[in-house]
Amino acid sequence: MAKLGDLARLIRSKNAGPFLLTFDIMFGDAETYRTVKDARVLTASLIAKTYGIPEEHVRLVEYDPGWAFKATIPRPIPSGDPLDTDIYGAQQHAPLVDLELSVVPNRP
């Protein structure tokens, strides 16, 4: 088991417009990215469970040229709404950082 935050070079969240929240899980080398991709553990289902939302609300993209996974969900509250907590959507990725994955990192 490995923590996603230890495998990734960067995990971040941000608005993709005021109504969507997009998460990027970016790896520092092709090999780590490929290991995680081939393990098929970073899925829309996992994101949905982590954030307590229906799986059909998660759009997951595997982005090979950037060694990154991207997951986009509807913002629970639009940016700038009275009850919004985070105008930029910049601090919503924390649950991904400590996510445990069954992946064996190939490190020398």
């Binding site: 991207k70 709404d81 009275p82 985070d86 649950p95």
Partner: protein
């Protein structure tokens, strides 16, 4: 093969850049200097009020060098989404800054102002003609939402900019515009294949963000040819790598392979990234699929109420460990007292307690349930008038201050309030209310261009 050079001073006009970086960029002979000045990321208030995002001196500083460079080198300068949200007042605000700069520098300038505010009547007409669609995940647009909007803008594509360039504008100051179109416009005017031009624009719109290490807001440059482009940061201490450039389409987009513009979609699925030297990356394979029909994105903002807040902290473990029933009691007592003293009942006003240390940042997405040793609470109210908002939040704060704590017996004071006076009146609050696209008759009919000779 023909080529064109694009220079971006930074990703947000007013955020600053190193003058030395700009000079390096200018030494590489740009054909156009363009800069994005706005974003919905700034929140809904700038769209509603037309107030500028940055204080005026920051715009003067950033624009002075660009205007001087552009006018003396005869290189067009394009600014889009003026002053934070691209509103008509935002355009007028920056136009004033530009006039001041041109006067001070004793230069001459053909200025094009392109306005993007939309009248409610025109939007209602388009709605009645079934030309408006919702963007995911918004609902269909209701007429009452249009009527209630404080302001609506349309996001222009490159066409109004192309026309202004063609008409000989030296400086183009645009209202709400697609960030990428500011950079693609000159290439489109000159008949370049769109793929590389739009992709280069996608990277440059964020200034130095696609560099390996962006130390501070700074410049980015691209050399666009017919079947590829090369991108590099003018600052010699920054560099681009294949991954930093490839990864850039991840930023703030739902899909790094497909990015929708008014006139089409940028497709990066077939792109190849090559490191051409230590600091520069070549990108080939960018494609642009024309849109049928052509659509313009609408953004709208509506008034919610007057906003007041009080900030306090709680450290007493007996309260922190039983915070939910404590706050529920405070809420119930506040509602009773407000009904009597202010004459309002919910939902005529909104009372919210933000609890930092529990779920202040993530709200209902927060998975962690253990309380911290202390919490920070922001009591806040949205109400029809500022006085009512002040009264309600002051009531909530005062009731929380001495609300009974079941675990203790006797008179308690429950809040560590850092400020006196503690009520902060924040003025008018807004929310985004329109997130839709419209099919215009033509790409330019929704926008008004005015020329001025300075």
């Amino acid at each position: 093969m023909k080529e064109i050079r694009l220079l971006a001073p930074n990703g947000n006009l007013g955020s600053g850049y190193l003058l030395s970086s700009l000079e390096h960029g200018l030494a590489a002979n740009p054909d156009v200097i363009a800069c994005d000045s706005g974003s919905t990321d700034n929140g809904p208030s700038y769209l509603a009020t037309g107030e500028p995002y940055f204080p005026r001196p920051l715009y003067i500083r950033d624009l002075s060098h660009l205007i001087r460079a552009g006018l003396t080198r005869r290189v067009p300068v394009i600014i889009g989404s003026a002053a934070g949200a691209g509103t008509d007042p935002g355009v007028n605000f920056l136009a004033d800054v530009i006039r001041e700069i041109v006067r001070k520098e004793s230069l001459h300038c053909r200025l094009a102002l392109i306005y993007s505010d939309q009248s409610k009547t025109s939007i209602l007409d388009k709605l009645a003609a079934h030309r408006i669609r919702a963007l995911w995940p918004s609902d269909d647009l209701a007429p009452r939402t249009v009527e209630h909007a404080e302001r609506i803008v349309g996001m222009m594509g490159c066409e109004p900019l192309v026309n202004a360039l063609d008409a000989g504008a030296d400086v183009i100051l645009a209202g709400r515009a697609s960030d990428t179109s500011l950079f693609a416009a000159l290439a489109v005017l000159r008949g370049f294949p769109p793929g590389p031009a739009w992709h280069a624009g996608k990277i440059l719109e964020c200034g130095a963000a696609a560099a390996v290490h962006r130390f501070h807001p700074d410049c980015m440059m691209a050399l666009v040819r017919e079947d590829h482009f090369i991108v590099w940061p003018p600052n010699p201490e920054m560099s681009c790598s294949t991954v930093s450039v490839a990864a850039h389409t991840l930023y703030e987009n739902a899909d790094p392979y497909l990015m929708r513009e008014p006139s089409g979609t940028l497709v990066t699925r077939e792109c190849r990234y090559e490191q051409v030297d230590e600091r520069s990356v070549k990108v080939s394979g960018s494609q642009f699929q024309e849109a049928r029909p052509y659509t313009i994105k609408l953004e709208g903002s509506e008034f919610v109420g007057f906003h007041s807040i009080v900030i306090s902290g709680i450290r007493d473990p007996m309260i922190v460990r039983h915070l939910e029933p404590f706050l529920a009691e405070v809420r119930a007592r506040t509602e009773r007292q407000v009904a009597e003293n202010v004459g309002l009942t919910t939902p005529e006003y909104l009372l919210n307690f933000r609890v930092y240390g529990r779920d202040g940042v993530m709200g209902r997405l927060e998975p962690v349930k253990e309380p911290a040793h202390e919490v920070g609470i922001v009591f806040e109210t949205f109400a029809p008038s500022q006085e009512q908002a002040n009264s309600i939040v002051a009531t909530a704060h005062y009731l929380a201050l001495h609300n009974r704590v079941p675990q203790w017996t006797g008179m308690v004071t429950n809040l560590a309030t850092p400020h006196s006076p503690s009520v902060v009146a924040r003025g008018r609050a807004f929310r985004f209310s329109i997130n839709h696209t419209v099919e215009p008759d033509t790409p330019t009919e929704m926008f008004r261009t005015v020329f001025e000779q300075l």
